[in-house]
Each structure stands twice: as structure tokens, then as C-alpha cells.
């Protein structure tokens, strides 16, 4: 098993969020969900708010990332995320409230509504709740 591991790094502006060896990593991009094994073709892709699943030799780890991008090179995957959180760092109550706010904004359909931003906020809130569900 050891030879199908590759280096995974998740870096945020404030800290090195995760660094380790994994056999698979799954995450959400703006184009859809993607799963990466070792020796993936080189790819740079933009992250969408969602859950990252890192499959290590002894089990899987989950985290939420919001916005950023991923650079996939054969031996190494680097996720540069603006925000990343482990499940235990998430405030469920806050995420629920954020969801309500975002839905309310989208329903109101104001002329000056920034739809893309409200949708992103909604996606973030949903991703936070998904991982705790």
C-alpha cells in the first residue's frame, strides 16, 4: 500500500492546515467533484466551498474548505485555501444562521443583490453543516 501514497498539503493564510501522506484526496471544484490518486495528470483547478476528504493509510479525515485553488502534480497535491476548518472548529449554530441569511437574501431578489456572493455564502453554510451531519 505504501507506494500509492502522495504528499498532500492544505495551506491557508494563517497556518499550514494539513500536511501528510494520503492515498486519495477528494474535493469540490467549480466544475464538480474530483477525486485524485497518485500520478494524476498536472492540473490547476479552482476550489468551490465543500468538503475535502483525505484518505490516509489508516482512515479518512474530513475538513471544510472555502474558496481557493488546488495544484495537482503527480507526486504532490497542494490546496491553497482562503479558509479551512476541521469539523470540530465549526460553529453549527452560526452556520445555520448564515444559511438562513443567505436564503433570505436570495429570496428577496433586491435589485442590488450580489447573487454570486449570496450563493457562495449559502454554499459555505451548507458545506459546514454537511460535514457535521
Amino acid at each position: 500500500m505504501a507506494d500509492n501514497l502522495f504528499q498532500v498539503e492544505i495551506i491557508t493564510p494563517d497556518r499550514i492546515f494539513y500536511r501528510g501522506q494520503a492515498s486519495m484526496i477528494e474535493f469540490t471544484t467549480t466544475e464538480g467533484e474530483i477525486g485524485v490518486f497518485k500520478d494524476h495528470i498536472p492540473l490547476t483547478t479552482v476550489l468551490a466551498p465543500g468538503i475535502v476528504t483525505i484518505t490516509e493509510a489508516d482512515g479518512a479525515k474530513k475538513a471544510v474548505v472555502h474558496a481557493g485553488f488546488a495544484e495537482i502534480l503527480g507526486e504532490k497535491v497542494t490546496l491553497l485555501a482562503e479558509v479551512a476548518e476541521w469539523p470540530e472548529e465549526i460553529d453549527l449554530e452560526r452556520a445555520r444562521k448564515a444559511e438562513d441569511r443567505a436564503r433570505e437574501r436570495l429570496n428577496r431578489k433586491d435589485a442590488d443583490l450580489d447573487v454570486a456572493r449570496a450563493e457562495l455564502a449559502l454554499k459555505r453554510a451548507l458545506a459546514r453543516q454537511d460535514i457535521l451531519a
Binding site: P13, P42, T44, E82
Partner: protein
């Protein structure tokens, strides 16, 4: 010679100033430690960001993109990062001098300031002040950097400014800080960093290159601004620590000097009194 009372008063006033500078030095030492750790934690993110942008540019070849080509507008946006408070030696004036001494003419500069000192000084010199973010300087967060980069990027996209610069103090180490003027847009990377990338390695982009650049360049700019804010805080405290350290030791020197003068004056007055008594006694006898 100044009277004993004058010297004594002066000495007391200097030693109370010394107490203040000493306290300020201790405070900024603690703040420096914190800010330094934060700056160090930001470095990996920034380094990867820079590497990725370099490798994207190397592989993207001569792609024609809004953020990469020269713009028609001759207006230049400058983000100036200084401190809200003074007493930090040459920290603020170095940044101001960097801007006034640069080859950007006064008429074509639009200034976005972070830090009240820089804002005041540049406004006095007659620069066009676009907006001010001084409040974030106390504890800059990534969200603050996002707000700044959003504003400058939208001005850039509208064609109001043709180039974006960032003026901040680079934190080399605890004793050495370097005022730096950096061009953010159009994106500029060092030739050797571009060449270091293996252009044969075929990088794929998803979505396509242009959209990926659209998303990644703003993040790159934000990370640069955030890094600059964090480094500026560290530099500010480093500069203040040095300034207060030398102020404290100057006060020490002055106190020593004044003590000597005070003792001489006291001895002088005793001698004079004695001479007078002796002279008086001789006159009587």
C-alpha cells in the same frame, strides 16, 4: 552655571520620560514577538501562491489577459501601508519618502492608505487620496486584505487605474526592515523564477486558463496585500522597539550627565558657603 534646583527639575523630567520610553519598548517587544510569529505563519501560503502564479504564467505562455497586459490608463493606484501611531523612528517617514522619491508623478497617483500617519503626510503633500483603511492596522485579517484588493481590482477593471503598486515595510528580521515599493498589476514576476519552471511539464487548467487566471490572480493580489499588512505590523513594532531602546539609553546618558553637574553644583555651593563663613569669622577676630 544652572542652579541646583533647575538641574534637579530637569533630571526628574528626563527620568519620567525614560520610564515611559522603557515601558513602550517592553510593550512593543511583546507585540513584535506576536507579529513576527504571525508573519512567519503567512510566509508558506504566500510562497506557494507566488510559485503557482509563476508556474501558471510560465505555462500559460503569451496569454492575453486583463491582469497581464499593459493598461491604457496612466493613473497609478498605490496602496500605502504605514502605522496609526508615531514614535517609531523613521518607520513612517521612510515609506513617505519612498513614494515622494519614486518616479510616479504626483498628478497620476491615487493613494489607498492603511495607517493614519501615511494618510496625513501624503494628504498634506497634495496627493489624491482615494480611500483609507487605517482601522485595520491594529489587527489585520485576511478579510481586510480582501476588502482592499476588491476595491483596487474593481478600479483596475474599470480602467480608472492602469497600474497598482504596494508600498510597505518588508520585515527582514528583528533589526532590519526595508521600505519596499512593489508593482502588483500588471503581474510582474522575476525572470529567473519564470525560467526555473519546467515549461515542458504540461499543466492543465480547469476551467480554462483564462478563467483560472481570473480567479487566481485576485487571490494572489489579496495574499500579497495580506502578507504586506502582517509584515508591516511586525516592522512597525520592530522599529518602535529600536527607537524606544535608543531613547531609553539616551535618557540614561543625560541623567548621568545631569547627576554629575548637580553634584558639582552642590559641592560648589558648599565650598562657597564655607569660604563665606571663614571670611566672616576672620573679619570678626
Amino acid at each position: 552655571m544652572a542652579s541646583m534646583r533647575d538641574i534637579k527639575r530637569r533630571k526628574t523630567s528626563i527620568s519620567s520620560t525614560q520610564q515611559i520610553t522603557k515601558a513602550m519598548k517592553l510593550v512593543s517587544t511583546v507585540k513584535l514577538q506576536k507579529a513576527k510569529n504571525k508573519a512567519e505563519e503567512t510566509t508558506p501560503y504566500f510562497r506557494y501562491m507566488y510559485q503557482t502564479v509563476c508556474s501558471m504564467l510560465a505555462k500559460a505562455g503569451n496569454i492575453d489577459h486583463l491582469y497581464l497586459r499593459e493598461s491604457a490608463s496612466d493613473q497609478k493606484g498605490i496602496i500605502v501601508i504605514t502605522s496609526n501611531r508615531g514614535l517609531a523612528g523613521g518607520y513612517n517617514s521612510n515609506i513617505i519618502r519612498l513614494i515622494t522619491g519614486s518616479d510616479i508623478p504626483l498628478e497620476s497617483a491615487k493613494i489607498y492608505t492603511v495607517g493614519r500617519k501615511g494618510q496625513e503626510a501624503l494628504a498634506r503633500k497634495g496627493y489624491h487620496m482615494e480611500s483609507d483603511y487605517s482601522d485595520v492596522m491594529e489587527a489585520p485579517t485576511y478579510e481586510d486584505a480582501q476588502a482592499i484588493s476588491k476595491e483596487v481590482l474593481s478600479a483596475y477593471a474599470k480602467g480608472e487605474i492602469g497600474e497598482i503598486y504596494l508600498a510597505y515595510t518588508h520585515f527582514k528580521n528583528t533589526v532590519s526592515h526595508e521600505p519596499t515599493l512593489l508593482r502588483l498589476l500588471p503581474v510582474q514576476v522575476k525572470e529567473e523564477d519564470l525560467a526555473a519552471n519546467d515549461a515542458d511539464l504540461l499543466m492543465n487548467f480547469e476551467p480554462n486558463e483564462e478563467e483560472a487566471l481570473d480567479m487566481i490572480i485576485p487571490k494572489y493580489i489579496t495574499s500579497l496585500i495580506y502578507g504586506a499588512l502582517v509584515e508591516a505590523v511586525a516592522s512597525e513594532n520592530g522599529a518602535r522597539m529600536q527607537a524606544m531602546d535608543s531613547a531609553t539609553s539616551n535618557a540614561e546618558d543625560m541623567i548621568n550627565d545631569l547627576s554629575l553637574k548637580y553634584n558639582r553644583a552642590r559641592q560648589g555651593s558648599i565650598t562657597q558657603e564655607l569660604t563665606e563663613i571663614i571670611a566672616g569669622a576672620e573679619a570678626i577676630s
